[in-house]
Symmetry: C2
Subunit: 363 residues, 2 copies
């Protein structure tokens, strides 16, 4: 992904939410301890603790998180917030700056642009969006660091060609917005695109874009394979489990893997794939047990899978499977020797995690 970004004229600002580990993030950055995207304030603090800088918290900021954000802004050379709402911008500008050395006591802010995913982000063709960005750029306590988009609708596709088409709309939306900003005299240094599908099957050019921020690609998974973003050989993680029961009458084997170990995502796709034993699939998954049968409904050859046999599940969704664990064991090329164990950042962090007392939300 580093080489692809370079070839497309972009810096890679990888999203680290999939692994939430220092070691995998360093693989993503090529060893550079800077320029990453995080999905929680806990991740921001975790990577700051590990010496990372230039961290973008790419979830719309709200005032309740400003205390934690201020701490991070003061610790780091650059810590960036994300906004997509004029009310939040006004609230942010009514609050004190982050203090410390960050941007001369100003919040460094990215504007989220909606490129058709319709989750978050401003409409790039709406003049009010430009006006909001201008307010950020001209604020006493804010500076405009860039615009950011995420083509999350690329996940709704089933072919690489369809993903590539989404990638073009992702680029076009954010470039359109940056051009409108330029025409309005609003300086916007960074123009970023990114989802793992659209960065894996990028458009022919990314003219006007200077950052890519995919994340899942660090491990890839069966979901990404199924939409054409990678091949089975690219899927890096496995969850290990053992056969713990034989039930010939039901043509089923029990395994000691439940959704605690890989999440329940992708159930209709077998919760992932047993790439090393592809005749098998998970039919049912409970808390600490799963029911395995054959993909094609043929009889299981139980003699091939004695009780105690270890199976390896390539997860359907690596982000979700990883989140169920505290550590990742990194293997040597023999796929058997553990050469390192990586701690996974847990929780959400700071005041976001433990509000006390709980405000009443009965409305």
């Amino acid at each position: 992904m580093l080489a692809r970004a370079k070839a497309l004229g972009c810096d890679l600002r990888p999203h680290v939410k999939t692994s939430k580990t220092v070691q995998a993030a360093l693989l993503q950055t090529g060893g550079r301890k800077s320029k990453i995207v995080v999905s929680t304030l806990a991740e921001a603090a975790f990577y700051a603790d590990a010496g990372f800088d230039d961290i973008l918290y790419a979830v719309p900021i709200t005032m309740d998180k400003l205390g934690d954000a201020s701490t991070l802004a003061q610790r780091l050379g650059s810590f960036h917030l994300l906004v997509d709402n004029a009310v939040t911008v006004a609230n942010l500008q009514a609050a004190p700056g982050p203090g410390g050395s960050n941007g001369g006591g100003k919040w460094s802010v990215f504007v989220m642009v909606d490129c058709g995913y319709h989750r978050d982000g401003v409409d790039p063709s709406d003049p009010a969006s430009v006006e909001m960005a201008r307010k950020v750029a001209n604020g006493n306590t804010t500076t405009l660091a860039g615009c950011y988009t995420h083509g999350g609708h690329s996940y709704e596709n089933s072919t690489a060609a369809d993903v590539k088409a989404v990638a073009a709309t992702e680029r076009d939306a954010v470039v359109l917005f940056s051009q409108k900003l330029k025409a309005a005299g609003v300086r916007c240094e960074t123009v970023g695109v990114g989802s793992t599908p659209t960065c894996s099957v990028p458009p022919d050019h990314l003219n006007g874009v200077n950052e890519m921020h995919p994340g899942n690609y660090v491990y890839y998974d069966v979901m990404q394979r199924d939409i054409g973003a990678c091949t089975s050989a690219d899927i890096a993680t496995r969850v290990l489990t053992r056969v713990i029961g034989h039930y010939p009458a039901q043509n089923m084997m029990l395994i000691d893997l439940g959704w605690t170990g890989c999440s329940a995502q992708g159930g209709e796709h077998g919760y992932g794939a047993f790439l090393e034993t592809p005749s098998l699939t998970i039919k049912v998954l409970k808390q600490e047990a799963g029911e395995v049968s054959t993909v094609d409904g043929s009889k299981i050859d139980f003699t091939r899978f004695p009780i105690g046999t270890m199976l390896q599940l390539a997860p359907y969704h690596a982000c979700a499977a990883t989140h169920q664990h505290r550590v990742i064991h990194a293997l040597a090329a023999d796929h058997a020797t553990i050469i390192d164990t990586w701690n996974i950042c847990k929780g959400w962090g700071g005041s976001a995690e433990i509000p006390a007392p709980i405000p009443s939300a009965r409305l």
Copy 2:
């Protein structure tokens, strides 16, 4: 549940896998530090550390876990294994006993009985099942502690009447098996039934049964409500989240809750219910963000939910939502004051968690 079990002539041996906390387990047992069911060896060690005894690990045992099981058997007055396979019984009897004082150096073993759920368990009407139990009872290193069943197919129902019918078949299966054991001269002290639905809507009698082992009821959830096992007022847990974005064009609000905070289970049911703001529902849930709209498709009154408003999600599946967290905050009756914070047991424990080196499973 304690009162219901007593009225039905049973001891309550609660399953603690839903909360995985000491404090909730003590609510389940009425303060007694004994007679519980666990779903992992990590839970067994966690509760042993807290002074609990008489712990049943209710997942079919395999040889790879015997070292950890031996440690637990030696620490505890009684630690029980579960079996449903003659090969495992033979392997267990070929291995050393647990040592220590547990059952005179014997493994204390429950036999899992299939009552129609068809996940695990032996067929109670099959003479081979009785023969297996007899071998357990007569082993040099094993004793038969009881038989155990789980009417997990109660979750496939949508009315309390249907659940009650499953509860009767759950009882009948395990009582049939215990009668066959008695007829064969095999002593079996404990006869247990249990799932939260079947114990919440029990049959008219549990004659022949002397233990109930439900678990989820400690919190209940939207899934249990929807199958008639509880009411909304019985649902004890909430996951808190804040409104972080307003998108009138999509009639949508963004929240800072993703499947990291409540799991992705129950998506087709809104991932749970906003019981305090029932007009709202989650339409889409990503890693750290969710899209909220109205249940009936009507326009959101955004003025009622300013950015920063806290919402409370009653989870679809409490076991899955709880598992995403490290602690539970226990609230006073005002539903606002945190009066205690309960640690949640994490991981799987011992050799089950870190096999090194990883055996090849390429078959």
